[in-house]
Amino acid sequence: MRPLTAQMRRRAVREFRRKAILHLLLVAGSLVFLVPFAWLVVTSLKEDEDMSQFPPVWVPRQQVKVLIDGKEAGLAEATYAGKRVKAAVIQERDTGERSLKVLEPSELKGKVFEAPRSAVTKIKQFAPVWRNYPDALAFLPPETNNGLVYVMNTLVLCALTIVGTLLSSSLVAFSFARLKWPGRDPLFMVLLATMMLPGAVTMMPVFLIFRALGWIDTLKPLWAPAFLGSAFNVFLLRQFFLTIPNDLEDAAKIDGCSYFGIYWRIMLPLIKPAMAALTIMTFMGSWNNFMGPLIYISSPLKMPLAYALQLFQTAHGGEPGLLMAASTMMMLPVLLLFFMTQRYFIQGVTLTGIKG
């Protein structure tokens, strides 16, 4: 092997330094972006009294419990007979006084004494407060004591929206991309133009339409429109249909395949990746849909999660442990979905960006 010249060594050092700095920056940046997640989870596992501390408590902890005379008691530190002692809190009086029984040192063991609340320091160890999770579920909604109702509503909503979106958008996009009919192109331009229209303009009349149908306080206004396609999704899938070569279609036509057959048997399988991306985007959209339920749903039993979480916040704003547990539960499925389908996720974003 040839010995390294001074120049090569310099270049290697420079390259190493560059990489080190880049990694440093990337790690620091990643940390900044991930810290709120950590804070969320930690807060959901902390005791209430640790919520308001400076510097912040990062490790969930609870008072150590010991068995004293067959009963569970908290472990604490206090001063007795001029000495720091380890003792079990055997009684908490309404007046704030605590009764303690000494455990250590051994010469004082078994002695019982009283101390004011402020003179007693709890001994704590790492122990997450899991209770917040079932508690948060039980609070939601208070009427049923079962937060799963919300999860169920959200899942129903997502499923129906996805089915509707996939069916209608692909069918319509197929028509706009592969079939020729008079008025197709002007109509497509009109469709594109409506993408510009802010939802606020049609919000009130659409409410009146659903009111006339008697759909207020049902989930229907939230998913039924999906069966009519949306300009954006149609546009997205149309771009995909356009990229498929004509040969396949022509061959199918010669074989006597119907238009629906071409759509169903030939075209749909070819745009599967786009459909996957659309499925994920639609799922995210309806999982997160907030304004829809805010307008249309008034019974707690029919509310989806996103709105329920906001309600939960107004009701339990003073109990961050519960609130953060509820938030964690709301974002967990989305994060899991992301990890399972990362490829389609990224693809969906790139599609909507570049092709849009």
């Binding site: 969320l40 079939l179 510009m196 049609t202 009146l208 009111r211």
Partner: protein, 827 residues
């Protein structure tokens, strides 16, 4: 022949497909349809909440069900005790109202005026002689009068409450004050507040003596104490800016200023917790004006707290009764007064079971039910070894019965409770008017603006003038409503049929052209129409139709419950004249968010993308880290960031980091974020930046699309990294910048979800963020459309918003050729 069969088959298949989709939709609809009506009457009651602490309420309702076998009661809290008016309004307008509503009494006038509640006069009169009848004479005047609008009774008062000063005797003693001599006048109160306040290093507090608007007092109480009234007796004039009320607002401001300013206090207060960590119970607040309900939580969480209750302090000359030796302006008046509020039962219009609802209301307001309630609640309290403290009823007979059987045994609670009950005859109540909610919202806004005078530059007088003007214009508008003509059915029918004709014409022309074509082409055309039918239908029903309707609405006054009136351009005029404050504020806020937020977001996304594009190992891991926050549901993200950006450094993560670094280094105090007017929008931007990783994917794709030879050429010219970025990267990315800019602008102008969550709108907040610092156009629109149901006004606003978005997009499109570089064009 063969071809004919062929086309028929195509049509058949296409028709089949359409039918299938239709069926799928119908099946889904059917699946969600409710099952047949249950046998017993299901009485739906809103505004009551069951929970661990409401054993009494539960017993009361159970006893009703036991006495009325055919009725099952469904109790819904609708937001945990806090009735969200938007929900109730939508339910009534949407014709799915509850049967009974337990509603805050001061809003009854408002609801009654809009015909959303039904009058109870016929039922009251019918049962007058019955033993369980509802009789006016049983009720405190302040309570009953609050449920009467235009001479008709719209609700039956249930519970009531009044307010007094709570103070922590230990803290008074520690500060060298006599715990037996609480403040009685405003100036004493301010002195005490200063003496009891302990500042903490870093601009925060260890304790605050007294916060004028903490607890439950509001400007209303101070104003009444000073002899002010918000409305003229006939209810046609808003008199909020009367000298007495302005002086009382000035007083509140002076207390805030004396303690270090509202921003600092709010940032301290944003860390207040509930229940056993309540700041009064933990000594973080030494005195507060609050309602009798606080006794319960003291008994529950701090049985050792050395506290006492006294009437709320009043203006000095009110107590003295004299001025310079002569009888003063308050001569002969009661020195102390209180404010009573509370709830009441009403029956919304269109309720399905009015008779059962009335039976329920009569039961809930009876002494018998109250005794059952108290017994159950007392048993529960004893099981938790805490004292039972009865609540106060609006019905005097109920109070007598309950106090005879369940009065607290210890003086500690009996004395304060007696003080609260004895104050009831001196209670004032908020004016019964259809602008009750508006009056409330505006008085909160005025308070907010006057205390934040450093930012708003407004005095108490000017803030109150503005609030008065807004309420007055609302009053005038309502009174002048009748002069506008009803919108007849002619105009909509003419326009509607013209549109239908145009549509039919287009369809006819299309059919002619299709029929003139060859068979194969024709069949393709038919299939095309059929396949596109869902979106065409959707376009007509959910886009085109609503656009026309929205145009119409914007020229109407329409609250859905009454026939629309044609008002011409009045909605637009109001928007730009009387209500210009809202338009200006919301546009300013959204402009701020867009001008700072969009470039910052783009820069962050691009910076991350460039780091990721630098070919180092582990890129997919880094990419996931940066991308993850952008997929977090908006509501969850907002809830999380409300906590991360908590103003109190002991609680908010970012402020803790700030306090540990920036404060010792530069002496900067941590900002109040969503609790401070000037920091709320930066807070929103910070929260938005967390999701900037979402844009990174696009930037990455763009960066990877830049041909390497351009950089190599630049290298040959001896260009440094900055020059390469400026002259190669940026121009090549300009289409992406352009795309982000347009989408970002359109998105920013329609900001809603996170603002709703972060500004606490769900809790019935009237100002959107401190001093409306988070008021955005769609938020204002939403409130008008679905809280006040001013559909016409909201539509006008929507069109203004649309015009702005359109104009901005056009400007961007027009400017694009000058700076957006498309590589393809050159080829």
């Amino acid at each position: 022949m063969l071809v004919a069969r062929y086309t028929r088959r195509i049509r058949l298949r296409a028709a089949l497909a359409a039918v299938l989709i239709g069926l799928a939709g119908l099946a889904a609809l059917g699946g969600c349809r409710r099952t047949a009506a249950p046998e017993p009457v299901n009485l739906v009651v809103w505004g009551l909440q069951y929970g661990a602490e409401s054993k009494g309420l539960e017993a009361r309702v159970k006893a009703f069900e036991a006495r009325n076998k055919g009725i099952k009661v469904t109790v819904l809290s609708m937001g945990a005790g806090q009735m969200n008016p938007q929900k109730l309004m939508t339910a009534i307008v949407g014709r799915v109202p509850p049967d009974v509503i337990h509603q805050d009494r001061f809003t009854i006038g408002d609801w009654a005026s809009r015909d959303t509640f039904g009058s109870l006069d016929d039922l009251i009169a019918r049962d007058q002689k019955q033993p369980d009848g509802i009789r006016e004479s049983d009720y405190y005047h302040a309570c009953w009068a609050e449920a009467v609008y235009n001479g008709k009774v719209y609700a039956v008062p249930s519970g009531t409450d009044d307010r007094a000063l709570y103070y922590n005797r230990t803290l008074l003693r520690d500060a060298g004050l006599d715990p037996d001599k609480p403040p009685r006048t405003w100036s004493e109160l301010r002195d005490f507040a200063k003496k009891l306040t302990k500042e903490a290093p870093g601009g925060s507090f260890d304790r605050i003596g007294f916060i004028p608007n903490y607890g439950n007092s509001f400007l209303y109480l101070y104003s009444w104490q000073n002899g002010g009234e918000f409305m003229s007796p006939d209810g046609r004039k808003c008199t909020m800016n009367n000298p007495e009320s302005v002086a009382s607002l000035d007083y509140m401001v002076s207390v805030y200023d004396a303690l270090g300013g509202v921003t600092r206090i709010d940032s301290y207060a944003s860390g207040f917790q509930a229940q056993e960590l309540d700041p009064f119970l933990t000594g973080k607040v030494a005195m507060k004006v609050d309602g009798n309900w606080v006794l319960e939580s003291i008994g529950r969480y701090r049985p050792d707290l050395d506290f006492a209750v006294a009437p709320a302090p009043v203006p000095d000359d009110r107590l003295a009764q004299t001025e310079g030796g002569k009888p003063g302006r308050f001569a002969g008046q009661d020195p102390f007064l209180t404010w009573s509020g509370g709830f009441s039962y009403a029956i919304p219009r269109g309720a399905a079971h009015r008779e059962e609802a009335w039976r329920f209301i009569k039961w809930m307001c009876s002494p018998e039910a109250a005794l059952i309630d108290s017994a159950a609640q007392k048993q529960y309290c004893l099981s938790k070894s805490r004292p039972y403290i009865p609540t106060i009823s609006a019905n005097k007979r109920v109070n007598e019965a309950v106090m005879a059987a369940f009065a607290p045994t210890s003086d500690r609670y009996r004395k304060p409770l007696k003080l609260f009950m004895d104050m009831m005859p001196y209670a004032k109540f908020r004016p019964v008017t259809f602008v009750g909610q508006r009056l409330w919202d505006e008085h909160v806004r005025a308070f907010d603006q006057a205390t934040h005078h450093k930012e708003t530059k407004l005095t108490a007088q000017s803030a109150m003038d503005e609030a008065t003007r807004v309420v007055q214009s609302e009053l005038d508008r309502a009174h002048s409503r009748d002069r506008f003509p009803l919108l007849g059915s002619t105009a909509p029918i003419v326009v509607g049929s013209l549109l239908v004709l145009a549509l039919l014409g287009a369809a006819f022309v299309g059919m002619r052209r299709v029929n003139g074509m060859g068979r194969v082409v024709r069949s393709e055309a038919w299939a095309g129409y059929l396949f596109a039918a869902p979106r065409i239908l959707g376009f007509l029903a959910l886009t085109a139709g609503p656009i026309v309707a929205s145009m119409f609405l914007s020229f109407c006054d329409y609250d859905v419950l009454h026939a629309p009136r044609y008002v011409g351009f009045q909605n637009y005029i109001d928007l730009f004249t009387t209500d210009s404050y809202y338009l200006k504020t919301s546009l300013y806020n959204v402009g701020y968010l867009a001008l700072i937020g969009i470039p910052l977001g783009m820069a962050t996304g691009l910076a991350i993308a460039m780091l990721l594009n630098s070919k180092v190992g582990g890129m997919s891991v880094y990419r996931t880290c940066f991308y993850l926050p952008s997929i977090v549901p908006v509501v969850a993200s907002a809830v999380l960031w409300a906590w991360v950006l908590n103003g109190d450094p002991n609680r908010g993560l970012l402020n803790a980091a700030w306090k540990a670094t920036l404060t010792p280094w530069f002496g900067w105090t941590p900002p109040g974020w969503f609790g401070a007017a000037e920091w709320a929008k930066p807070g929103l931007i910070v929260q938005g930046l967390w999701g900037a990783g979402g844009g990174m994917i696009l930037w990455l794709a763009g960066l990877q699309g830049i041909p390497q030879h351009l950089y190599e050429a630049a290298d040959l010219d001896g260009a440094g990294p900055l020059v390469k970025f400026r002259h190669v990267t940026l121009p090549m990315l300009s289409p992406y910048v352009f795309f982000n800019l347009i989408m970002g602008t359109i998105g920013a102008l329609q900001e809603f979800d996170r603002v709703y969550v972060l500004s606490g709108q769900g809790a019935g907040g009237s100002s959107v963020g401190p001093v409306d610092s988070l008021l955005v156009p769609v938020m204002y629109l939403f409130n008008n459309a679905f809280k006040y149901f001013k559909m016409g006004y909201a539509s006008a606003l929507a069109w203004v918003l649309f015009t702005i978005i359109l104009a901005l997009t056009l400007v961007q499109l027009k400017s694009a050729p000058r700076w957006v570089h498309y590589e393809a064009e050159k080829k």
